[in-house]
Amino acid sequence: MRESGALKLLTDTWRGRFGVAVILVAVFVSIFGTLIAPYEPEASSLDVLQPPSLDHWLGTTESGADVFSQLLVGTRVSVLVGFAAAIISAVLGSMVGIASGYFGGWTDRILDALENWFLVIPTLPLMIVLARLLDPSLIVLIAVIGFTSWAGTGRIVRAQVLTLRERSFVERARALGAGDGYIIRTHILPNTLPLIFASTVLIIAVAILSEAALAFLGLGDPTRISWGTMLQNAFDSGAPSAGAWWYVIPPGLCITLLVLAVSLLGFLYEEYINPRLRRES
């Protein structure tokens, strides 16, 4: 019954259908974007800042490159950074959350203080500082975003583990001499996974936005085109004031659509694991 419930939420609600469709397209384009792109994304030409035409569906950039091709190729960075950073954040968050909730005592105090510190500090400035310190590259971007966004997951996981470790089935395993590693592997982690997953999905959205923000500020990987670097180039070249809307709106819209799709799926999943959130339908 529950198994079909999850699918039903995906296929029977417009939020589920929209989210799945956008993400499938994004993943497809991020894999095959370089093949579909009609032009070399960075090939310059003399057709500078041309409005959309049959040759260039979304016009051209300040150096005469095809906007549509850049958009397709840029998908890869957004998707890659979003998913990879979220996975790093999930691993970090659940490790810290489980350790601090399960072991308690000083471990908990130290890790909890660390978590609070990461929660309180404004994430974007921290990311900017870290990205500035290190040489900009895709790996650095992923690491910086993952490293600054795990605290929320850690907090949720810790709360769940605190209740789990007092349950009788954990007590029973412990009373029979089961080690901490065993208890965490067989009882704690499987019972926390749904929560970890739910908060990770939402972090994907945050990571995609963060990548765009960092790239827009010139802290992205300079060797790769992403939606964020497209926006940066557009603003640097004065495209908005030149009325070149075709250069600014498409990457912005793509970021919005992808973040929206991921968030909707995240909320749907939260509703699925916490039926109290489900709307009357």
Binding site: R172, A173, G177
Partner: protein
């Protein structure tokens, strides 16, 4: 020779006694009821017998177990944590309170029973474990097929049976059941109690049954120990204690049971509330609520033998008759 001997068992929390000098013995195949209100120390006593008290509680006093087939008696009170891990479930096991919390929601029933067996017998093969799990499920009146289910797919009664199967997984000689029938409807209660009863005979188990439901205890147990504020105030065979209670608390407790065909309306409740665990009134802890209390009750009452194998801790026992209680004599300052 008794299977379990408990001598002066005391559990303290920051120096305050939660369980205060509990003594009792339990024979092989016998079942003992632990009765009393919430917070009187029933569960704490049970956990202390297995050295499974939560952090912050300290226990003292002798606990000696003489399981059949084991040469030397097991001195539970002198065992270390590692030493106890071998004893738990193999010799004494526990049916936890609340079947919902006691089963892992994301594991199959099979795996949870298998875990208990594997943690104890590291060399056992997968086939053997599977055979024993199927056996256990049948023993507690379920089918082996149910092992492939998750706890939420079982009914309350089935879950309680799984809990009993878990307790029996390593063939213990003593099972402690903590409120095994709360949260079950009356029909299910009767079935679970019947199951415990038949298992006791079949497997030669000793049973400690913890409950505040006197009806349940009367049906299932040979002997009953009534606890109040961390002490046993009366202990004896179920027949004698129920027909001839010798402690005012037991008397009032039994009076509060409705009797089919008895008078209509409820019996007068015991005035006041249970004392703060860890800070009971001095002397006989029941004296502020006892209609018969006098100044003598400010002293600790020693357990008095009031009949064969029947002890009561009241200065005035044995009571030959119970005086009628005048309501105004009841002091409600507890």
């Amino acid at each position: 020779m008794s299977l379990l001997e408990v001598k002066d068992l005391t559990v303290t929390h920051r120096g305050k006694p939660i369980v205060d000098g509990v003594d009792f013995e339990l024979n092989r195949g016998e079942s003992l009821a632990l009765a009393g209100e919430s917070g009187c120390g029933k569960t704490t006593t049970a956990l202390a017998l297995m050295k499974m008290l939560p952090e912050g509680l300290k226990q003292k006093g002798g606990i000696v177990l003489r399981p059949p087939g084991v040469e030397d008696p097991i001195n539970v009170h002198r065992r270390t944590e590692t030493g106890m891990q071998v004893v738990r479930w193999r010799h004494i096991s526990l049916v936890f309170q609340g079947a919902m919390n006691a089963l892992d929601p994301v594991q199959h029933i099979d795996d949870q029973i298998g875990e208990v067996i594997r943690l104890h017998e590291r060399k056992v093969t997968g086939k053997q474990v599977k055979a024993r799990i199927d056996d256990l499920l049948v023993t507690v009146g379920l089918t082996a097929k149910l092992g492939k289910r998750y706890p939420h797919q079982l009914s309350g009664g089935q879950r309680q049976r799984v809990m009993i199967a878990l307790a029996l997984a390593c063939r213990p000689s003593l099972v402690i059941a903590d409120e095994p029938t709360t949260a079950l409807d009356v029909v299910m209660q009767a079935q679970v109690l019947q199951l415990l009863e038949s298992l006791r005979e079949e497997l030669d188990l000793s049973l400690i049954l913890i409950s505040h439901d006197l009806g349940v205890l009367a049906e299932t147990c040979d002997r009953i120990a009534v606890m109040y504020a961390g002490r046993i105030v009366e202990i004896g065979s179920v027949e004698t204690v129920f027909s001839n209670p010798q402690h005012p608390y037991t008397k009032r407790l039994l009076d509060s049971l409705p009797v089919i065909g008895g008078r209509r309306g409820l019996a007068p409740p015991i005035p006041g509330g249970p004392p703060d665990p860890g800070d009971p009134p001095g002397g006989c802890a029941f004296h502020p609520r006892c209609p018969y209390s006098t100044d003598r009750c400010l002293e600790d009452p020693p357990p008095v033998e009031v009949g064969p194998d029947h002890l009561a801790a009241c200065h005035f026992s044995p009571w030959s008759s119970w005086p009628e209680v005048e309501p105004q004599k009841v002091r409600v300052d507890a």
